[in-house]
Structure formats: structure tokens, C-alpha cells
């Protein structure tokens, strides 16, 4: 609404505008709020309030006096930004951020590439047993990350892995997949296994929505299946690809379950292997909720910045075609 429109408002006779809706006016202005109330209440109670409390905690700290034994030895005081200072200057935190960055660079392109490939294969005309393939690719997504990490953990450990047994029978050497050089691939592989199916279904659904006339026209113009995929299908599902990228990036920043489950099996995953693991360690192993809250706020802000930054970067490119 422009300011001129607003300025003109009073000149319209009040009767003319109000009358048609007057009878139910009161109720109508209340109704939307009544409908909104549950959502707003839930949002306030379980999202806004905890976030606010976390932000508050991140500015507090506990001060101990003397030996710190017995009553009154601990007091909560304002800490200013010192928790943030410590979080951002902690070499372990920086290392975990870099590690997760590398993990994301490995995981997200591979996962989306495979998801797109599978979606295109399923969508191509010659594919048989489509329903079965779709379900079997999607099924790993239904397995909780903790369970899948345990399953893969058993497969990675040479002493209990059936693959190690087979490799040994064939005279080969089974690599130490949880050694410091390979462990990041081992973790990424679990996320890949679980994530490809979901992303594939999103992309496949987008492909299904493309009108078949486009393909017919392309074929008349002499396109084969590969050219159709490259020139029609992929550009049209680009918005879905971007959406799945953003979701995957957020999931990557929050990676926790897989490395935490694998941690007891190996020396190579430290308690601060990912940023969220550091938050967990600070809060529940070190009993320091305050620095855990500060690190959480940093992670949340970084996630927002990255997601919106990425969207802004690709938005014009991807969504202009739709207009």
C-alpha cells in the first residue's frame, strides 16, 4: 500500500466501506487471532522463549569462590560477551567448524548429485521396476541416524565387518575406515546413505510435475533422453535443487548423531569433532550451560547467514526462469 492510498482513505465515506462487513465485524477481527493462538502460543512457549533464555544464559556465567564446596559457593553473574569471546577464540571450535566445512563440501554435492541422478533415472522412460527402486532408495531415510550409524560402525570395524571377512578371503586388505585420514569419509557416507533417498523423492516429485508436452516438443526438435535431461529437466527442477541444497547445508552444520554414535568405536572422533558436539560436551560433560548457550547462538547465527547468503546468491539465477 502506498502513502497516497492511505492518505485518500479518510475521504471515502465511512459508511460505504464499513457497511458490507459490519454484521460480523467483531467476530471477524477476533477469529484470525483465535486461529493463530495455538500456533503463536506454541511458538512463544517452545521456540521464542527457549531461544530468548539461551541468549540470556549466553551472557551469564557461574563464579565460584574459594574451594567451591558447600552452600553458596557458586553464584551466577553477568559475563558480558566473555562466553562469546571464548567460544570464537577456542582453537577446538575453529577446528570443528573447518572440519564440518570440509564435511559439507564432500557430502552436499555428492548427495545432491546422486539424488538428481537417481531421480532422472527413475523419471526416464526406459526404467523398469520403478516403484520398487524408488522405495529401496528412499528406505534408508526411514532409518534413524543413530541406528544407521551403529549399523555402519559395525561394517567399518575390521574385526566384526563382513566386508573385512570377504576382503581377507580374497587376499585383499581392508582399510581402517575409522582412522584419522578416512573417518570424515566414513561419517559422510552414513549421512549420504540416509540422505540421498529423501532428496531424490523431492527432485523426482518436481520432475513429475513437468508437462509432457515439453518433452514431445523437444523430441520433435531432435533431443535424445540425455539432452532432454540436461536442457529441460535440470533447469526446471533447479528451484527444488536449491531448496534441497539449503536443507542439506543446514543439516550439515548440525551434524551430531552420526559422529556421536561412532565416537566410542574409535580414537579419531574427539568430543569436539563438530560444533554441536562441542555444545553438548560443554553443557552436559562440563556442566557449563553458559558457554554452550553462547556457542549455540553463534551456530544459529552462522546457519541463518549461510542459508540466506546462499539463497540470495542463487536466487536470481534459479528463479528468474520461472517468471
Amino acid at each position: 500500500m502506498t502513502s497516497t492510498e492511505a492518505a485518500q482513505r479518510p475521504s471515502i465515506p465511512p459508511d460505504a466501506t464499513v457497511r458490507p462487513g459490519w454484521r460480523g465485524g467483531r467476530r471477524r477481527t477476533l477469529a484470525p487471532y483465535a486461529f493463530l493462538a495455538p500456533a503463536v502460543t506454541l511458538f512463544a512457549l517452545f521456540l521464542a522463549l527457549p531461544i530468548g533464555y539461551a541468549a540470556y544464559l549466553s551472557l551469564r556465567t557461574v563464579k565460584v569462590s574459594g574451594l567451591g564446596l558447600g552452600k553458596g559457593a557458586r553464584t551466577e553473574v553477568w559475563a558480558g560477551l566473555s562466553n562469546y569471546e571464548r567460544a570464537l577464540s577456542d582453537p577446538e571450535f575453529i577446528a570443528s567448524v573447518l572440519r564440518v566445512g570440509l564435511y559439507g563440501l564432500l557430502l552436499v554435492p555428492t548427495m545432491l548429485g546422486m539424488a538428481l541422478l537417481f531421480a532422472l533415472l527413475l523419471d526416464s522412460r526406459r526404467t523398469r521396476a520403478r516403484g520398487f527402486s524408488r522405495v529401496s532408495i528412499f528406505l534408508p531415510y526411514a532409518v534413524p541416524a543413530v541406528i544407521s550409524s551403529l549399523l555402519w560402525g559395525f561394517l567399518y570395524l575390521p574385526a566384526v565387518s563382513p566386508f573385512a571377512w570377504i576382503a581377507e578371503r580374497l587376499g585383499g586388505d581392508f582399510p581402517q575406515l575409522l582412522s584419522s585420514d578416512l573417518v570424515i569419509f566414513a561419517v559422510a557416507n552414513i549421512a549420504l546413505w540416509g540422505g540421498v533417498g529423501f532428496n531424490m523423492v523431492v527432485l523426482y516429485t518436481a520432475l513429475k510435475a513437468i508437462p509432457t508436452e515439453l518433452y514431445e516438443a523437444a523430441r520433435i526438435d531432435g533431443c535424445n533422453e540425455i539432452a532432454i535431461a540436461w536442457r529441460i529437466k535440470i533447469p526446471i527442477v533447479a528451484p527444488s535443487l536449491i531448496m534441497t541444497s539449503v536443507f542439506s547445508m543446514i543439516a550439515t552444520l548440525q551434524v551430531f548423531a552420526e559422529p556421536t554414535t561412532l565416537k566410542p568405536l574409535t580414537n579419531t572422533i574427539s568430543s569436539t569433532w563438530t560444533p554441536l558436539m562441542k555444545v553438548y560436551r560443554d553443557a552436559f560433560t562440563r556442566d557449563d550451560l553458559y558457554s554452550a548457550a553462547a556457542t549455540s547462538v553463534v551456530i544459529a547465527v552462522a546457519t541463518f547467514a549461510l542459508s540466506f547468503g546462499f539463497l540470495r546468491l542463487v536466487q536470481n539465477h534459479a528463479f528468474n526462469q520461472e517468471k
Binding site: 574451594l67 567451591g68 558447600g70 559457593a73 543439516a251 580414537n267 560433560t285 562440563r286 556442566d287
Partner: protein, 444 residues
Amino acid sequence: MRLHTGIRTVAALAATAALMAACSDGGSSGESTGGDGGAGSGDAVELTFWTWAPGMDAVVEEWNSTHPDIQVTVNKQDGGDPAVTKLLTAIKAGSGAPDLMQAEYQKIPTLVSSDALADISGELGDDVAGQFPEGVWNAVTLGGDAVYAVPQDSGPMQFYYRADIFESLGLAVPTTWDEYADVAAQLHAADPTKYLGTFSAADAGWFTGLAQQAGASWWGIDGDSWTVSIDDDATLKVADYWGGLVESGVIDNKPMYTPEWNAALNDGTQVGWLSAIWAPGVLEGNAADTAGKWKMAAMPQWDAAKPATGNWGGSATAVTTQSEHVAEATEFLTWLNTDQTAVSALVSEGGLYPANIPSQAKALASPPAFFADQADFYDLAGEIAQTAGSFTFGPNVNVAYSAYNDEFGKATEAKSRSAFTDAVKAMQKATIEDLKTSGFSVKE
């Protein structure tokens, strides 16, 4: 975020409903345990007890049937770490803590520092202190006049080995650490798939026991200040020794308690285990196929003339600061940990090694089932337990232990002797920095 919005809403609603139900539930049970135990004067006092010791229900049942005035309800916990987290949360919230709490020795200073444990010295009989080994009693008093818990079990360390493999390879049971290194090398040379043991970066309590055996005591109180001496000569000696073994490759570097380690115990590639008195239960559970093949001996020694051991594990029973029935709770936990019936039941139901000296003889008459052939198992264990040194824990054991996991994780992976001693120094640094940041008074 991976869920469909509709599903998410439903999930949120369901979670809300569940949460509200849980809240109201917690509220009502909190009321019944917290306040009005003595409201109707004829009513029995109700006590809640957080514990994860196996078979505790049966032992408490014994108490409840003979003490109608004080009824104890066992609330089963997942284990030491989650139970402490829960308790500290309840203490912070001001309600929801139980009356009685099982507490591992290394957690007691942390709990006392958070004002979670009541001083029960006023309620306790004078004869209780003398019934426990000095080192263990020291852990529940923190060296002062207050008493924060009564010891339940202890975990003196011994050396467990596969007698059949030792015999077939003609190996002698090592009595000193030099001999242990020799045997480890001989064994690994005879069969490169076999190891005499593993250095586990996942088990800080295990390494603490090894350091304790060498004479270390990582924390201390000097006047009104804490001292931290993780990087003392004893601990550095232990780290250097194990670093050498891992570097030369005669000792494995994988963590304990993994499927791989279980498999190795079962198939005889892990031939020895430096463990504690509760090891028979673990071996029975993880390596059932090897029944009758294991034997227990004293730990290898640094100085054969002065035999010593360390402790790995063990816990005490404490009364929380939120309990309104400290006297009744103390009466119960004194019975639980000193009465012959109770201690015998703890052994038969829970398989633990009681800390109470007077009732040990009767309770430990026959060896554990998995070591049925070693008739003198508990006699030997009793002798070994006498040699455990005193060890003081500090208020931030959790920080030192998580530093152990991370630093020794790197060192064992690097398989370098110098990295092992560096790891000890890094633990010292992390622990002392944490104390200072929190504001504890620290003397260096």
C-alpha cells in the same frame, strides 16, 4: 527440518501434549516425595533412591519388608553420567531431586561443589568410618570433617589373563611392569594378531587407576585452595611407559568396550586385561565363550617390594540437599552399605565388590561363577584391595576426563611415545584453566 510441515505440526502437538502430561506427572510425584512424608503422623516416610546398580530393587525390597516406617522407592537410572546431569538440573531447579542418590567417587566433589549432597556426619554412627578402607573413606569426606556419602563398592584393579594361551605359549605371568612389557613383546612376536592388552583412550577412569597405582593423586586441597597435579612424575612415568608400548606396536591402541574389542576378547586376540574386581561380570557378558580360561593375578608392579594397586570404578550412596528426611535416609543407607544381609544381597544380586570390610568375608565366600576354578579369587582380591593408595578427586573431574579422551585419542592414534606425555600435560593445562575460569582458588 526434513519433515513435512503437516507432520511437523502434528509432531509438535503430540510433543506438547506429552510434555504437559510429563510436567504434571512430575509435579504430582514431586509433591508426594518432597513435602508431606510426615504430614499424617502415622504414615510411613517415603524416600526415593536414584541408582543404576543391578539388582538394587531386590535389596531395597528386603529393607521395605522389615522397615514399614521408612519405605524406599528405587528409581532406575541409565548410569553415572546421565544421573548426575539429571540431579544437577533438579538441584538448579530447586525441586525434583531424590532423597538418596548413588554417586561414583570421582563425581562426589563435583556434586558437593554444586551443593547437591547433604553433610550427614551429624546423623551417622561413630563406628561407620572405621568399617571402610581409608582411601575409600577419604573419597566421601574429601579429606574434611563433613561426610557426604557412605561407600558402597570399590574397584581395586587386578590383571586378568588367558591362562590357556599363557600356558600354550610358555609365558610367565608378569609381576612387574618391565616383565609386562617383555611378555607383551614375546606374545606379539609369537602371534602378531595377539596383544597382551590395549591402551584405551576412551576410559579415563582406567588410566586414573593406573596413575593411582604409580602413586599419583591428581587433585588436592592446600589450605583454602585446590591443587592440580595431573602432570606429576608418577603419571608422566605411566604415560611414557604406555606410549613406549604403543609406539613399538606390542600393545593395541583401540578403545575398550567396542564390538571389535568384545570380538577380540572372545577369539583370544586380546590375551590380557588390566581391569578391576568387577571384570568377571564384564567378561561373562562380552566373552561368554571363554569361560574357565581366564585367571586373575595382582597388577604388575613398579616396585615389587611395595605392592600397590589403583581403583577403577566404585560408588557411594548419598543424601541430597533437597531431602526433607535426612535422618531416615541416612539410616537406610547405613543399613544398605554396612548390614551383613544387605551387603550379601548386594553381592549376590548385583555382583559388586563391597567396600565394607567387616561384611566382606561372609558376602564373598565363593568365587564369581565365571572364575569358578580360581577358588581363592576373593582371598587374593582382598589382599590386593589392601594395597590401594589414596586418591583425591577434584571438583572438575569431568573436564579432566573429557580432556583425557580427546588428548589420548590423538596420542594413541599417533602411536608416539612423546605424544603420550604431551597428552598428560595438556590434561593438566585444561583442568587447571577450567578451575581458574570458574573462579576456584587454585594454588600452583
